[in-house]
Amino acid sequence: MSTVAMEQRKKIHPHKFTLWVGIGSLLMMFAGLTSAYIVKRNQANWQTFDLPQFFWYSTAAILLSSVTIYLAQKAFKQREMRKYRSLVIATLVLGVLFMVFQVLGFQQFWKQGLPLGTNVSSDFMYVIVGLHAAHVAGGLIALIVLFANAFNTKTRTYNSIPVELVSTYWHFVDVLWIYLLIFLIMIR
């Protein structure tokens, strides 16, 4: 009986598991869009386009934010709360920075003579990058909640699950961005 009990404890936390299944589901949505992109590319009227410069800055921001949230999670587990708080803030700032660069990138793209509705290929960029940004925005909301909890001195939380969940999700939107960037560069 004790071995079974131990097996039960070794099991992944249900909320973490739910998140992983959810990530699988989100991946399918982007797979739908990127495969639609590939299908369209093989048809007439396809125009190649260059990605705006700002996307490289945003890539740097989100990569760095993945590092800070990893360190934040580590700090939380070691109960170094001061370090944890500043790292959560750093992640939040980097996340906002990412969004700003994406918006600037869209503007640059728009001014290059490729506003929404010009041709299908550049419209795909708006939809795919925009939908990704919407998911980063969701992550930012989760980070704000973490941030609020971190500065709530009335109740102390030792439960690391919320931090781990947000961190996993954040790494996911990071990896997803890298994939989309490579995709949009390689296939055009």
Partner: protein, 601 residues
Amino acid sequence: MSSAATLHHADVHGSHDAHHEHHHHETFITKYVFSQDHKMIAKQFLVTGIIWAIIGGLFSVVFRLQLGYPESTFPWLEDLLGHWAAGGKLKPEFYYALVTMHGTILVFFVLTAGLSGTFANFLIPLQIGARDMASPMLNMLSYWFFFLASTIMFCSLFVQTGPASGGWTIYPPLSALGDASSGAKIGMDLWLVSMAMFIVSSLLGGLNYITTILNMRTKGMSMTRLPLTIWALFFTAVLGVLSFPVLLSGAILLLFDRNLGTSFYLSDIVIAGKILPNEGGSAILFQHLFWFLGHPEVYIILLPAMGMSSEIISVNSRKPIFGYMAMVGSVFAIAILAFLVWAHHMFVTGLNPFLGSVFVLLTLLIAVPSAIKVFNWLTTLWRANIRFTPGMLFAIGFVSLFISGGLTGIFLGNSALDLHLHDTYFVVAHFHIVMGVASFFGMFAGVYHWFPKMFGRYLNNTMAYIHFWVTIVGAYLIFWPMHYQGLAGMPRRYYDFSGWSSFNMFSGLNEFISFVSMIVFAAQLLFVFNFFYSMFKGRKVTDANPWGSNTLEWTTPINPGHGNWPGEIPEVYRGAYDYAKDGKEFIPQNVPVGDDESKGH
């Protein structure tokens, strides 16, 4: 066999027990409205589903009036529908709206949310031995997103230009251009918003079902001891979680085309004499994205019915299900194949014939796991000691409909034959029997079988038998003749056939079908009456295990509270199908294996 639960030590389920302690102060709101108890959420899904089924069914009766009696007028229709039926005759625009909403409501709101939502929520924790879902909060949100979707869709029925009318598949350009039809205006926008909410609801639900099944099983409940209902609901959830997001991405592109001037799906269109600037889009792209969901959706609808029928047939045959692992394997095979056959809906879109032949092969492959399942149901029934309870009758009815509807699928899966049969009543008959009516039968079987567990009372048997016989005979009388009409080339989606001399010979048959559909609809109202009457006045359940069943839900008290088991969660020692073993009629899963018991089954 006693139904008393075999309890086990506390340490194993400490974490599960912790969270049912804090539900002492239940108000009306927390118990019946914003409930986090999976059983209450299941009932919410069921009742909402029943309301939608009445609306969706009524729509079909109204448009069948038009098809069956195209020359007549019905003044009362004008009282009911106002200007949509001016002079007592349905307007063509509204006919299309009715057909669209009939499909949308029954496919998504009744047979997806109403079926999976009800039985996944109700049965998963009870049958795997869990106190609740992995995340009761997400589960509650799942229902309320569905409620929101329902409200928006319901409102769309009353807007001035009418609800969406471009078919439940919302193919562009009809759905992408507001000028295309009156239903393509605000009705279509509301449809898209409502479906977005619906997708969120079904994803939240699906995430929960998968996690709960994989993570929260009681001690001893290995995957191979799960009842087949749970296996079916598991694969249903996997299909939903992987296919609905693709529909969402298709719908997002559609939203851009509708509102932001992009042309993902639009190219070279002249509407009302005006040439649109859209160029470079492809309407076929939408069909690919849509059917990548659309085909798995068929199995999202069908698999729960399969799982419940397997369980109910085994319980009421008093025999183990024949070929348990084959049943699991065939559901798995169907789930995989579900993702690989979507283009068989698109054989006549100019699909590359070579690609088409690949999809023909993959489509016909589905016949293999389907045949395995049918074989196993029949061999379970073979020489069994059958109890013809209403639930059992509907389960057997499901098998019958699945066979007769599945066989015509083999016709339609051939691209060469599909050239002739595409968009005829043959298709209508095929999918209504195999997906619509068959899944409804699975749902009815589930309701009749688990009603005692849901409400602590039985449904009235006399009404149940009338309901069954009228429905099964009626379903065949409605859809059987449609095969014949379809083979003769009668197309779908026509408002009035009386103008075509080639289809005039079917006017008598159309009238007959419409007449039967009204009788069948009345029989469903009898069921609805029985449902709500028995909820309050039905015969009370006195035996905790009224069907002599092995699964864990019957080890709970007759009216289980939040947390399901008052004491410890029972431990499981065996599979769910030890019926007629070693001379015992049934051995529940929580009974330890005796020394004198034979190995295996």
